[in-house]
């Protein structure tokens, strides 16, 4: 019974994590696309949605139980256990980068001095985001696909030779 409740809680926390991921990714995408001056109000709204997502994640990550997937932990390198440390490393870089972008954006709303740093940090965030997507794609499918492709290409010439 306790195991079932625990499993259900973990599943719920995973679902909440997915909702949060969609919230952050969606609002960042909208904020990036509407960065033009003509769509400033939309950019403003989406930017504050990004900031709210980051603040929520940090607060939830601090107070979540240790067993929860929502718990924020520092990335550990060289333990050899669990997931690849690059997952946590890139996630930390994303939280810091996107968080900094949102904070400088909020400051830029009050002072024009923050406009250039906000733009620079936001552009740098794109590099981290694409690294995150590339790494996750590689780990959850790309790795197997590359192995299969290499195996197939190694297998093909030998078949041709035998014929």
């Amino acid at each position: 019974m306790t195991m079932t409740i625990e499993r259900m809680t973990t599943k719920l926390h995973h679902s909440l994590l997915k909702v949060w991921h969609a919230w952050l990714a969606g609002s960042f995408l909208v904020a990036y696309v509407t960065s033009d001056e003509d769509t400033y109000a939309m950019h403003f709204f989406a930017g504050y949605a990004v900031l709210a997502a980051i603040v929520t994640r940090i607060v939830v990550g601090i107070f979540a139980p240790a067993s929860s997937p929502l718990k924020l932990t520092l990335p550990r390198i060289g333990t050899g256990k669990g997931r690849h440390p690059a997952f946590a490393g890139l996630a930390t870089a994303l939280l810091l980068g996107v968080g900094l972008s949102a904070v400088t954006g909020a400051f830029a709303d009050g002072s024009t001095a923050f406009e250039d740093p906000h733009e620079a940090v936001s552009q740098a965030c794109l590099v981290i985001i694409f690294s995150h997507i590339a790494f996750v794609t590689y780990m959850y499918g790309g790795k197997t696909w590359i192995k299969k492709t290499i195996a197939a290409s190694n297998h093909q010439p030998s078949q041709e030779k035998s014929q």
Partner: protein
């Protein structure tokens, strides 16, 4: 899994974009909250009497005014 994540993010982006659009429309349609620029203060504004002439603002209106010979309105 990656496809699902991308799909969820796209759905969230559509929802947030819609909400942002509603916010932008509401902001555009609301009247301007700016107050008109005040060019003079009440203290600077001279009060007019009922006759249309300016009222003296100081207790002694002739204070600081050197009276000339032609100031008298005897004629």
């Amino acid at each position: 899994m990656i496809g699902k994540m991308l799909f969820h993010s796209a759905v969230a982006a559509i929802l947030i974009a819609s909400a942002a659009l509603v916010y932008a429309e509401a902001k555009d349609s609301e009247p301007s909250q700016l107050t008109p620029v005040q060019t003079e203060t009440k203290a600077q504004r001279p009060e007019k009497s009922d006759t249309g002439y300016l009222k003296p603002t100081a207790e002694n209106p002739n204070k600081g005014h050197k009276q000339d010979d032609d100031d008298d309105d005897d004629d």
